[in-house]
Structures are given as C-alpha cells and as structure tokens.
C-alpha cells in the first residue's frame, strides 16, 4: 500500500502548482528538485514542460489505441475496414511532431547558452576527483583540502544505525558564498569522475588530463548534497559532494580563517621535522591515517584485493631492509596504476606515521620507525 501511496503522490506532486509549493531545497523522493539557483529552476521548468508534453502525447496515442481495442474488437462484432494509407494524415503526423519539437528546442537552447557561459566569475574553485574523494583548491586564496566520505564503515556494514545523511556526508565540505558567480574548474587525477550537485543543476565530468568548466550562483544559504555520477571503480558509490553556501560576509570570515589554519599547519609541520615521535604515537596516528586513506584499496587487514589491489601485509616493499622504496611509493605513487601520490594529501608526519604502521602491523614486525624528517629527506632529494 505504501508503494501505491507514493506512486499516487508522485502523480500529485508532479503538478506544477504542488511543485511551486515545495520548499526550494526540500528533497523530493519522486521528482527533480527545483534547486536553489536561477539556472536550476529554469532546468526544472524545462523538465516539467517536457514531462507534461510527453504525458499529453501518451494520453492521446494510448487513448486512440484503447478506443480501437474496445470499439473495434472482433468479439464486439467489428468488421475490418480496408484502408491502409492516407497521405494527408501521414503528412500531418510527420509535420505536427516537428513543430512540437521546435517548441521544445527553443527554450532548451536558451537555457543551455546560459549554463555554458562561464565568463566573469567572482571566484574560482579547482575541483579534482581521485579514487574516491574530491579535492578543492580556492584559486584566489591559499586554501585547499580533500573532502572524503564521513559515514562510518560500521554503518555501511549494518553494524551501526544509519545516520540521516548516510553516504551523503563528508569530513570537509566545500564552502562557497551565496549571490556570487562561482566558477568550477573540474579535472581528475586518475579515472573519469563526475561532479554533481542536483540543487545547482551542475554535473560535469572530471577528465584526467583535461579541465572542464562549470559555474553556479546560489540564491539561498544552505547545505547541498550530491554524489559522483560517473562509474569510477570500486568505491564509486562512496564519494559524495557536499557544498555549504554561506552569506558573503560569513564566507569571507571563513576563508580568512582557513588561510590562517593552513599557515599554522605549515609551521607545525616545520616544527615536527625537528622532533621525533614515539613508536606508540606513530602507530596510533598511522592506524588513523591508514584506515581513512589506504584501507579503501588495501583493506583494513592489509591484504588488498587479489588481482586488483596488492597486499601490504608481507610485501617486499613494506618488509624490505631499505626504507626508500616504501617512502617513494607513498610520496610519489606508482605511474600506470591506481596508486596515487600522497605528498599533497598527507603531511610529512602523517606519511611517516602510516609507513611506520604499515611496517609493523599485521605481522610485518620489522620494528622500523620512520620520522617526518626521513620523509622530508626523500622529498628534497637528499
């Protein structure tokens, strides 16, 4: 019965009046969202126009067909007529659809031209996809960060109750100001991803080696959620997009604060270079980093996925006497494979910790300790 109710609700809700009554950012379970930009509302209007034209065509065609099925059925004594062509009718049903198509194409083309006009942005964000996270870099400020899924693995494995925004929550959302034209430069570090926020009607592929452009101008402050739309490998379903739109003054305060935080982090990193962490500290931090960054491919038990992602447990690199190959592969990645460079994503002390963890967990008991300064030495070619 619930299904019937929802299906019936679907019909009701898709009427234009009901849709207008919907709050703009409210999530609909059965229809597109009008969204929170002028463009997304135009797109929603086009969608509803197309939908009603299609409904009208279907009602007419199926209506005629069902009339024939009832009135001209053999069991009601219908005798077949003889006609099998009619030039006038045939011309009419070729020309009329043409006119309907033109009526559809004109507003669609005008919206499309607006959507593709990326000129005169107020600010620009570089969006980079990689397996399976997004990286945001503010081109006008010294701020950049990764944004990864925040849903706990235990929720996905059905051990914990699923939270309200299950699979649609990230550790660090993108923040943009309202009422400003924000341009996105979209690219990828590995396979093709697609950056999609339904409330902005923005979906653009992230192609490795190429840069795509898109833009938005958000009318209402709020939290807007989307997902990667292009199949990008194992965890394609687990790389959401979350965007917070703030009033411009709030945004200004936020970005200044982020710049200060980034500055402090750089200073902290320099300070840590001169220090040694204890084994216990290294292992604790290392496990945190491993579980959030490495475990997606190499699995929490370090055994990888046979034939797809190599094991770290017992591997030559993670148990060999020479530390350099291990540091190298994490700092620079391995060309031609899914192993990406983590130099940008992790601090030197985090890299040191995760290497120490990998060399001592799961029976890889090498006893090696790696410190931030060892990483610094490799990165600076010493």
């Amino acid at each position: 019965m619930k299904f019937l109710q929802t299906a019936f609700g679907a019909l009701l809700l898709s009427t234009p009046i009901m849709s207008l009554a919907q709050s703009a950012s409210e999530r609909s379970n059965i229809n597109l969202r009008p969204g929170v930009t002028d463009i997304s509302q135009q797109v929603f209007g086009l969608h509803m126009m197309m939908f009603w034209i299609c409904v009208a065509i279907a009602v007419i065609v199926f209506g005629v067909m069902f009339y024939a099925m009832i009135k001209h059925r053999k069991s009601a004594g219908a005798k077949p007529a003889n006609f099998h062509e009619n030039v006038k009718v045939e011309i009419a049903w070729t020309v009329v659809p043409f006119l309907i198509l033109i009526a559809m194409a004109v507003p669609a083309a005008s919206t499309l031209l607006d959507m593709e006009d990326v000129s005169k942005p107020d600010l620009t964000v570089l969006v980079t996809g990689s397996q399976w996270k997004w990286h945001y870099k503010y081109m006008d400020n010294d701020v950049e960060f990764f944004s990864t899924l925040a849903t706990q693995p235990e929720q996905i494995r059905n051990k914990f109750t699923k939270s309200e925004n299950y699979l649609l929550e990230v550790d660090r959302p993108l923040v943009i100001p309202t009422g400003k034209k924000v341009r996105f430069l979209i690219t990828s570090d590995d396979v093709i991803h697609s950056w999609w926020v339904p409330d902005f009607a923005v979906k653009k592929d992230a192609n490795p080696g190429f840069i795509n452009e898109a833009w938005t101008n958000v009318n209402e402050p709020g939290v807007y959620r989307g997902q990667c739309a292009e199949l990008c490998g194992k965890d394609h379903g687990f790389m959401p997009v979350v965007v917070i739109a703030m009033e411009p003054e709030e945004y200004e305060a936020w970005i200044v604060e982020q710049e200060a935080i980034a500055q402090r982090a750089r200073e902290e990193e320099q300070r840590l270079l001169a220090m040694n962490m204890s084994m216990e500290e290294l292992m604790t931090t290392g496990k945190q980093v491993y579980d959030s960054v490495c475990a997606a491919c190499h699995m929490p038990n370090g055994e990888g996925l046979a034939g797809v992602f190599p094991a770290i447990k017992g591997s030559a690199i993670a148990t060999g006497d020479d530390l350099n190959p291990h540091i190298d592969i994490i700092v620079y990645g391995k060309a031609g494979t899914a192993m990406q460079s983590f130099a940008k994503q992790l601090t030197m002390s985090e890299i040191a910790a995760v290497i120490t963890y990998q060399r001592n967990a799961w029976g890889n008991n090498t006893g090696d300790m790696v410190q931030a300064k060892d990483i610094n030495a490799v990165m600076n070619g010493e």
Partner: protein, 539 residues
C-alpha cells in the same frame, strides 16, 4: 574468370542436384546434427536457445544486483563484485541475449518469408553461431580470474578499463572481438540472402517488414561492429602494449574513447530495436485482420532512423564538456529521431483502428510493446534536452529509460515473435494458460521493476552504485521485488517452450492464426526441414 560450371553452381534453379538428393528426405540425428548443421531452421533454433540461456544467466546477475540493492548498506556482495555483475549483466543481455535472439529469428524467418530454400551462406551461418558459445565462455570465465571479471561497466570507459582495470581485461577484449565477428558474419548472410534469394515476384517493396527491418539492421551491424572491434583493440594496446590513445599523459584523450564507443553504441541500440519494429509490424495486422497501415512510410521511417543513428552519438556524452554548439547539434539531431519513431507508433495504432481486433498471446505482447516502448521513447525525448540531461545523466532515470526500450521493447517483441511463430515451428499450439500466466506476471512485475526507477533517478540516485542514501530505500525495495517476480515469471516461459518442443498440444493448420498473411503461413506446420526447394511465385 567465370566458367560454365561456376555459372551452373550459382544458378538457383539447377543448383546442387548431385549433392542434394542424398540428404533431402532425412534429418541427421544426434548431437552432430547440431554441430555440423547448415540448415537455417536448425541454426535459428540454436541461436534462440543460446539467447534464452544467456537471458537466464544475465538475469541471474540482475537478481544479484537487485538483492544487494534491496536495502541500504552492503549485505550480500562486495562493491568490486557488484561492479562485475552490472558490467557482465549488460554485456550478456546486449550481445548474448537480444542480438542472438534476433539473429535466430532472422535465420528461421527470412528464408521462409522471401521464399528462399535456405540462407545464402550456410557454412558461414554455422560458424557464426558456433563461435558465440566460446565468446561467452571466455567472458564468463573471466569472472573467475584472480581480481575478478570486467568491473568497468558494459561501456568500458577508459582509463577505468585500461590503466585501472584488472587482469581479466584481455579476456573481455577477446570475447568482444569474437562476438563482433559473429555479428558481422550473420549480417553479411542476411544481406546476401535478401539481395539474391527472393522468390520471383518478391520485389523489395513487397517484402514483409520483418525482412526490411533486418536488412537495414544488417547494414548497421556491418557499419559499426568494426568500430567496436577498433575501440576494444585500442583498449587492449593501451593496457598491455604501452600506447596512449586514451591517456592524456601520452598525448591521447579519454573522451576520444567515448566518441568512438558511442559511434558504435548508438547505432547498436537501433540494431536492438529495428527488428522489434519489424516483428510488431507483422503481428499487429494479423490480429487486427487488416493490412498494415502505411507500409511504404514504415520502410522509409526505418531507413531514416538508421541514418540518423549515425549523427546522434554524443547525446550520451553531454556532461563530458563539449562546445555548446556541438551540444545543440546533438540535441536537435536526437529530437528529430522522434519524428520517424512517432510515424511507426501512429501507423500501428492506425492499423488497429477500425480493424477486427482479437487478443491472442502474440497480440497481447505486441500491444504491451507499443505502450511500454512508447513510454521509453518519450523518456528518451526528455533525455535529448541537453540542459535537463545534465540532471538525468547517469541516474536511475536513464536506467529506467533504456530498460523500457530494451526489456519491454526488444525483449517483449522477441517473446511476441516466439509466441507468434512457435506453432509454425513445432506444428502444435503452445499451452495458452501458461502463456497467459507468463504475459500477465511479466507485464505487472516488469512495471513494478522499472517504473519506480524513474522516481529514484529524478530524486538523485546515481546508477552503478552498490549502496544508496536512505531516501531511496522504499522504492528500491519495490524495484527489487518487481525484479525477482519478473525473473521468476521467465521460468514459466521456459516451461512453456520446453513443453512446446516436446510436441505437446493441439495440431495447428498451416495458417495457424486467422488473418496471418505471408509465405511462411503457406507452408505446412510444422515447417518441413527443407522449404521452397522450388521457389514460389509471388503475385
């Protein structure tokens, strides 16, 4: 250099007398009959059974997909295996079920419809079938390779299918090559048969529409299967031999892959629907007891759809970042396809108009086809509108759209065809009670399965994900229930076909259906092993 003997051998009136007499009146027995056969009816049967088995295998994979998606969270399979299931499900249904089923119908029906004794190239016919099981054994065996089978979607976009794919990619490439060779040979056979072996008086504009649609389909196959072979070979060399067709680091372009793939892929979707149009154009007039409305416009509409299919490929790629005027071109070209497709639907409805309609099983499937295919066509029109496609693209709305045109379109037409011609093939009427159960169970479950996909897609559920946000949970449960029911309903069909093959049921006349017209209804039921040894004359 043509010698006198060559001339004799190629003359249909006097061909093969010496070799013919000894196998004319007996049918070879046992397994070797099927391995060595060059008979179009045997090969048609082989194709149809193969397609049915593949339909059940691909369907079993769909059941795994729907079981995992029954509720949010990961329950049954791991994401990597889930991706293998969606990939291989797609490949098997397209290349293993729908295409071989249509080739099987072509083999059975085209010679009987045009008054030819067999297909023009019988030995090649045998080979084009028998390489297929090997292609699919290779594809299925790839699932057992370490790291699993192909997991990059049936569209195998680079670089996911090159740099980032597993070791089974070579097996995938090789199996697609074999499928392509099989399709090309089948298409050549259809064209040569239709061009050369029509009975006297069977002019082109007298050919049944099933023959016409298959002729046009065969040209599409020959045009685009080599493109598919090219693109899989580029994937192979990018992955294993260091080329960079699709790798920007070496001067290539990942979007180039999509252009080549969809230049094959879009005509491919018409390869899977044009023969369906032909089947419906045979069935609707029979059960309306009235000639097909607009025969000539049907032929021209089919040809227009085929030509247009070559200039719309990039509508699959609106989000890849094309110049805005390219987006407009592909939007408008795509919308224009609605015109000839509309003509076809209007013609079917006009055929029924003022007919004397009865609702035997093939007609039920044909009517379901017209309604549900039209729903799929209308959502296709919505998808053509570029600015809105940005929202629909890669969501379940697309999944709903192509399953409406391929399952309730292509697959329903194949079932309609089987019910329509099965009595001709076996000489007995199938079990009508079972057939009614099959029809009504399929019709209801397929809509419970695919209709709600429109809703979850519009609400924002991306395709190809093993787990989803909570607001999609209610509909996904119903979609899965519909999926299981549709899967089970096909076992009714299996039982019915087995029963029919075991010669159960009432004997039928040569015409079988009151109102059926065409050469295949003039030969006895069951159709003898050899038909039209002397060509009939068509007035």
């Amino acid at each position: 250099m043509s010698t006198a003997t060559d001339t004799v051998n190629t003359n249909p009136d006097s061909h093969g007398h010496d070799s013919h007499d000894d196998h004319h009146h007996h049918i070879p027995k046992g397994l070797m009959r099927w391995v060595l056969t060059t008979n179009h009816k045997d090969i048609g049967t082989l194709y149809l059974w193969f397609a049915f088995i593949m339909f059940l295998v691909g369907g079993a994979m769909a059941m795994v997909i729907r079981a995992e998606l029954f509720q949010p969270g990961l329950q049954i399979v791991e994401p990597n295996f889930f991706n293998q299931m969606t990939t291989v499900h797609g490949l098997i249904m397209v290349f293993g079920a729908v295409m071989p089923a249509f080739t099987g119908l072509a083999n059975w029906l085209i010679p009987m419809m045009i008054g030819a004794p067999d297909m023009a190239l019988p030995r090649m016919n045998n080979w084009s079938f028998w390489i297929l099981p090997f292609a699919f054994l290779i594809l299925l065996s790839s699932l057992f390779v370490e790291g699993g089978g192909p997991a990059f979607g049936w569209t195998f976009y680079a670089p996911l299918s090159t740099t980032y794919s597993g070791d089974s990619t070579a097996l995938f490439v090789f199996s697609v090559h074999i499928m392509g060779i099989s399709s090309i040979m089948g298409a050549i056979n259809v064209i040569v048969t239709i061009f050369n072996m029509r009975a006297p008086g069977m002019t082109y504009m007298k050919m049944p529409l099933f023959v016409w649609t298959w002729l046009i389909t065969a040209f599409l196959l020959i045009a685009v299967m080599p493109v598919l072979a090219g693109v899989v070979t580029m994937v192979l060399t990018d992955k294993y031999f260091g080329t960079s067709f699709f790798d920007a680091a070496g001067g290539g372009d990942p979007v180039l892959f999509q252009h080549i793939f969809w230049f094959f892929g879009h005509p491919e979707v018409y390869i899977m629907i044009l023969p369906a149009f032909g089947i419906i154009s045979q069935i609707v007039p029979t059960f309306s007891r009235k000639k097909l409305f607009g025969y000539a416009s049907m032929v021209y509409a089919t040809a227009s759809i085929a030509l247009l299919s070559f200039i719309v490929w990039a509508h699959h790629m609106f989000t890849t970042g094309m110049p805005v005027f390219a987006e407009m071109f592909f939007m408008i070209a795509t919308m224009i396809i609605a015109v000839p497709t509309g003509v076809k639907v209007f013609n079917w409805v006009a055929t029924m108009w003022r007919g004397s309609i009865s609702f035997e099983i093939p007609m039920l499937f044909a009517i379901a086809f017209i309604i549900l295919f039209t729903i799929g066509g209308l959502s296709g029109l919505m998808l053509a509108i570029t600015p809105v496609d940005f929202q629909y693209h890669d969501t379940y709305f697309v999944v709903a759209h192509f399953h409406y045109v391929l399952v309730t379109g292509a697959v329903f037409s194949i079932m309609a065809a089987v019910y329509y011609w099965l009595p001709k093939w076996t000489g007995r009427m199938f079990d009508i009670t079972l057939a009614k159960w099959h029809f009504w169970c399929s019709l209801i479950s397929v809509n419970v399965l695919f209709f709600p996909m429109h809703f979850v897609g519009l609400a924002g559920m991306p395709r190809r994900i093993p787990d989803y946000a909570l607001q999609f949970a209610d509909f996904n449960k119903w979609i899965s229930v519909g999926g299981f029911a549709f899967g089970l309903s096909q076992l009714i069909f299996l039982a019915l076909v087995i029963k029919a093959c075991r010669k159960k049921g009432e004997k039928v006349s040569s015409q079988v259906w009151e109102g059926a017209e065409g050469l295949e209804w003039e030969i006895p039921s069951p159709a003898p092993y050899h038909t039209f040894d002397t060509p009939p004359t068509v007035k």
